[in-house]
Amino acid sequence: MISRWSDAFGRMAAPIGVGILMLAAWQGVVTLNHIPPYILPGPALVAKTLWLDGPSLLRSLWVTLRITLAALAAAVLLGGVLAIVFAQSRLLERCLFPYAVILQVTPIVAIAPLIIIWVNDTFLSLLVCAWIVAFFPIVANTTLGLNSADRNLAALFRLYGASSWQVLRLLRMPSALPYFLTGVRISGGLALIGAVVAEFVAGTGGAETGLASRILEAGYRLQIPRLFAALLLLSLTGIMIFAVLSWVSRRLLAHWHESALPTED
């Protein structure tokens, strides 16, 4: 246990050290060159702003996070179901997959205004935008996973007269799990990006505004330290989402998948 913690510390020490050095250099450059805070605030000022504006920024973060998580949940659900439909029917896959690709390759910034016009509810329109960005990796990965079940195992299921539901439930879905989880991890980050981009397009409106609108607003008003603080919160949120999803993925794949096994030494 002790060695595991010290191992973890050893692995973390290097990147943390680099981070501290970078922050010190940043602060040094700002202080020595007397750079005004509306051009580039030092890290100390950013931290102070984060502390002072914290409560209001966190409220905005909660707005963005709600959209992100709802979009991710919708992407997991609809993406998963769509992948299963694709895996069950080659015809449906051939019919629908190109449209999923079109939805994916069209820049969200370009269609967000339309969606915001069409969908009256602000929350819902932002959710739809974030969902469009997030759902494709799940569909693509899960479809691939469902189709990559071991051939011989599939033959064995056939030999024992398994129903197609049994094949799906006991063979194809477990085979697809690592692929699906990779899709979810990618989508977690994309959902946040989608939510932020959609908020940018929607602009500052309504009583509740997300972090993206706060960034826009801070930019207009040259409140650069606040802009940095909001940006920092966004990055931390993205990292947290990724870390949580990675942890879930490792937990689910423990025991059996190569990616989740500890290194042998």
């Binding site: 195992l153 024992y160 006991l170 059996w256």
Partner: protein
């Protein structure tokens, strides 16, 4: 009475292949005119070089590949549900424990866990893996994984067990152990075995009948009866009789492949 016995012998084969042929979609003739009868309780090896269609023949018997011509006939009522299959690779579900892997055929047949617990655990014990029920395949050695695969194939108490070069990827020591254990299982359970191999030594050690096949297209060259007494064990491997049988079969195999 005598008449009845004669009729029994004619129809007594558990499985008979009649003029079975297989042409793949790309035009390759994999099998031509295969006639083969397997008696109940027999241990038959299909011996031949790679590409002689032995594995294809096994898949046809299992019903996994349809033959292009000829037919596969079974003794009596549908045996189709009573086949066990062991692949070249252990082909286990990596996400499931040993217990769940062995339970799979029964699960697919709709049998609840509680009803077959003794059955599954008895089978795991029979292949020498008691205590490994909760272990995942990743944590097992190659030989142990193959044991799980054999346990899975036997858990439904099939009348016919098909094995497709199951021990080819194992080291020699493990292979010898598994050969002996497989013979033990065969004798205890009184099933019929059709065993595909490219090893003369393995086929002579295991079977009471060897079917020698030749490649391109896959045909049966000849059949050899092996009269060495069972139980066969380590002592047999080093015996003169075994060496002579191996030599005889090797010569026949070489002659047929020429």
């Amino acid at each position: 009475m005598a008449c009845q016995i004669a009729a029994e012998q004619r129809t007594g084969a558990l499985l008979s292949l009649e003029r079975v042929g297989k042409v793949f979609r790309n035009g390759t003739v994999a099998l031509r005119e295969i006639d083969l009868a397997v008696a109940p309780g027999a241990f038959v090896s299909l011996l031949g070089p790679s590409g002689c269609g032995k594995s294809t023949l096994l898949r046809i018997v299992a019903g996994l590949t349809p033959p292009s011509s000829g037919r596969v006939a079974w003794d009596g009522e549908g045996i189709a549900g009573s086949i066990g299959f062991v692949f070249q690779e252990p082909t286990l579900m990596p996400w499931a424990t040993v217990w769940d892997n062995v339970y799979l055929p029964l699960r697919l047949a709709g049998k609840p866990r509680s009803a077959v617990r003794e059955n599954v655990e008895g089978m795991i014990a029979a292949v020498g893996l008691s205590g490994f029920e909760r272990v995942y395949p990743r944590e097992l050695s190659g030989g142990m994984r193959m044991r799980v695969s054999i346990a899975r194939a036997l858990v439904t108490e099939p009348r016919l067990l098909l094995l497709d070069e199951p021990f080819a990827a194992l080291d020699e020591i493990t292979r010898f152990r598994l050969n002996e254990d497989l013979l033990q299982l065969w004798r205890d359970r009184r099933c019929t075995i059709l065993f595909v191999t490219h090893s003369v030594f393995e086929s002579v050690f295991l079977s009471n009948r060897i079917v020698i096949m030749t490649p391109r297209p896959g045909r049966i060259a000849e059949e050899v009866a092996i009269d060495l007494p069972y139980p066969r064990d380590e002592a047999l491997r080093t015996s003169q009789a075994y060496a002579e049988q191996c030599r005889d079969v090797s010569l026949r195999l070489a002659r047929s492949s020429r």
